[in-house]
């Protein structure tokens, strides 16, 4: 009997070991986040430089104040704006970047290497020096104070990061698939839509998650292009609590950051399982 259960028991103890290890690393990694959550329950003057994780006497006043709005604007307004921008960005990136990625990965068109170099080149320049020319451009197009400057680029695949990410994935998919499809008379559009896109699901999901989060956290774009507080997203709402010459409301800001975390966390939780499922269910490998 012992001979029979031995491997099982070893497997079980290894599993325990794994969980212990993972939890240890996790505690380390999550400590700062717990600190933020704990701080949102501290009185404002205890937050900066405060050493304890959770207050002995939690206060909820910061959340209560948020309920009354920030600068006369309901907090929900910021969240709605952020969601519009984030989902709008995800749709754009999925559409435009996957097209470009497919072209780079699977189509032998002339000038491909040149375009690829140009694309990588766009990653290399710090955006601070592009701000003024871009602003002038959108101003001439009379698009200041709209969401267009914040979204247009997403539909035109200007995020080279995602083109590159999807391309790296597509290149690693077996060539036989599209070659077989070609033999069946499929053109590029159908190969792209029916074969490559479904198989690239992990890359698409990964890109969606990043796009969502980056759009959610983006501050510079909204700062420059939006001129009315009720169009502001959450990232800008967060900055309304602290200014050099007013009494700083650290409590309000930390509470708002905790709230701001929830939608991104929800988005990630909702889609992270597809990261795995995507490849596992495709059943193509081997």
């Amino acid at each position: 009997m012992s001979a029979l259960t031995h491997p099982a028991r070893r497997r079980a103890s290894r599993s325990v070991l794994w969980h212990v290890g993972a939890l240890l690393v996790l505690a380390l990694v999550l400590y700062p986040l717990f600190w933020v959550i704990g701080s949102s329950l501290k009185p404002s003057e205890d937050i900066v430089g405060g050493l304890e994780l959770f207050p002995t006497q939690p206060v909820f006043e910061h959340y209560r104040k948020l309920y009354d709005g920030i600068a006369d604007i309901p907090v929900s307004t910021f969240f709605v704006n952020s969601l519009v921008l984030a989902f709008g960005s995800v749709a754009g990136v999925l559409f435009s970047c996957s097209l470009a990625a497919y072209a780079f990965a699977r189509i032998d068109f002339r000038g491909r290497n040149l375009l690829f170099s140009l694309m990588i080149g766009t990653l290399l320049l710090p955006y601070h020096v592009l701000i003024i020319p871009q602003y002038v451009l959108f101003q001439k197009m009379e698009l200041i104070n709209t969401y267009v400057p914040l979204l247009l680029g997403k539909y035109l695949a200007t995020d080279a990061f995602f083109v590159f990410l999807m391309m790296q994935f597509m290149r690693n998919l077996p060539r036989e698939l599209d070659e077989a499809a070609r033999l069946d008379g499929c053109g590029h559009p159908r190969i792209y839509w029916h074969i490559m896109l479904p198989l690239s699901r992990p890359a698409l999901i990964t890109s969606s998650i990043f796009t969502f989060i980056w759009s959610w956290n983006d501050f510079l774009g909204p700062l420059l292009y939006l001129n009315e507080p009720d169009k502001y997203p959450v990232s800008m709402g967060l900055k309304m609590f602290i200014d050099q010459d007013s009494a700083a409301d650290y409590g309000g800001m930390v509470a708002m950051s905790v709230l701001a975390l929830l939608p991104v966390l929800a988005f990630f939780l909702a889609f992270q399982r597809y990261l795995v499922e995507g490849a596992a269910t495709s059943g193509l490998k081997g």
């Binding site: 600068a71 006369d72 451009l137 420059l224 609590f241 200014d243 010459d245 700083a248 409301d249």
Partner: protein
Amino acid sequence: MTSWRNTRGLRAAGVSVVALGLLATGCGGDGGTGAGGKVEIRYSWWGGQERASLINRTIALFEKKYPDIEVKTDFQDYENFWKKFNTQASAGNAPDVFQNSVAFLRKYDDKRVLLDLSAQVEAGNLSMEHFRAGLDKAGEVDGKLVGVPVGGNTFALIYNPAEYKKIGVTPAEGWTWDEYDAATEKISKGGLPGDSGGGGIMYLYDLVLRQNGKAFFTDDAKLGFTEADLEDWWNKNYARTKAGVLTDPKKIEQAKPTSGLSKDLSAGEFTWDNFLVRYTSETKTPLAIAPVPTTDGKRTGQYISSLMLSGSARTKHPKEVATFIDFMVHDPEVGKIMGYDRGVLATEEQFDAYEPTGVSAQIAAYEKQIADNVEPITPHPAGADIVEAAFLRIAADVFLGKTSVDDGTKQFFSEAKTALGS
């Protein structure tokens, strides 16, 4: 390549795109005359959400009185306000009215960004009467009126009275630097450094210079002191830091964004008087306000600095801008709402209308107390903000022991020359 000059090429690109019909629907509503003959003006400022709530209330009052003018607001924190402002202004899209500070008047006047309001004063749309002493001329640059003060502030010592009580010293008008140095030394013997360290604060050093008949900047946009002067000042501060009289600069650095004083790292700090409001909200320790010491027991060197409202030189509605500023600085109701949020109220009407309580009352009392000794302000040449930042940064290098006083002084003079030269 030359076509990119003046971004003309970009303009052409933008226009041609619109022409191509790719993005034919321009849905940006900017400025201009809105529906029903209403004039729309954009108003931006820096500040937190509480300031925004107060300002929103004052704008509601304004729009009620002037139903033909609609005010669109926009606000950010200080750093981002200027970043956005610079972007917009360089593209010719600055807000019609905006918050400004005396430190930036020349910088932006040089670049022709600011509206000269003198014509509006003559036309009777803006009154420059009834400003408190030291503020009436604060917004003038070379005979042009480019800023209108909304609130004033001045330097002070904000301190922890319990610590001073322990050593039996009461900071009061007429006290000298020798007395101050002795007091802080005595306090630091008890374990708490007497001062957060102000050797890198341009405005404090300016006061010390003014007490000695000099000033940080001269009228012709140069530094008003010698390398030897600065070496003395930094040597003194460095020695006091080493002796533990001034807080270890590492700890001050670490405590940001709160001040050393409000983290109980020292018994006092020289700063703007209205910061008492902010400091008090950051600590449980009771704080008080006292005058800056003098060299001879008499001359304070003090002046009133201020936050202002400025108009954009490219506004299409100068008259409405002037009307708006006039209302914001003179209307007593506005004063009652704003209180000392942007410094002690600038005009008599508003100063009298608002009854300060708590720490605001302390600040008001302090400004009244020093009012008789107020002198004209030191000019802030274009580049003053860069010089201020360099002064602060290099002083930190010096006090952290990364640079010698000698080298730091040379470095500062060289950077200041570049900043003021342009």
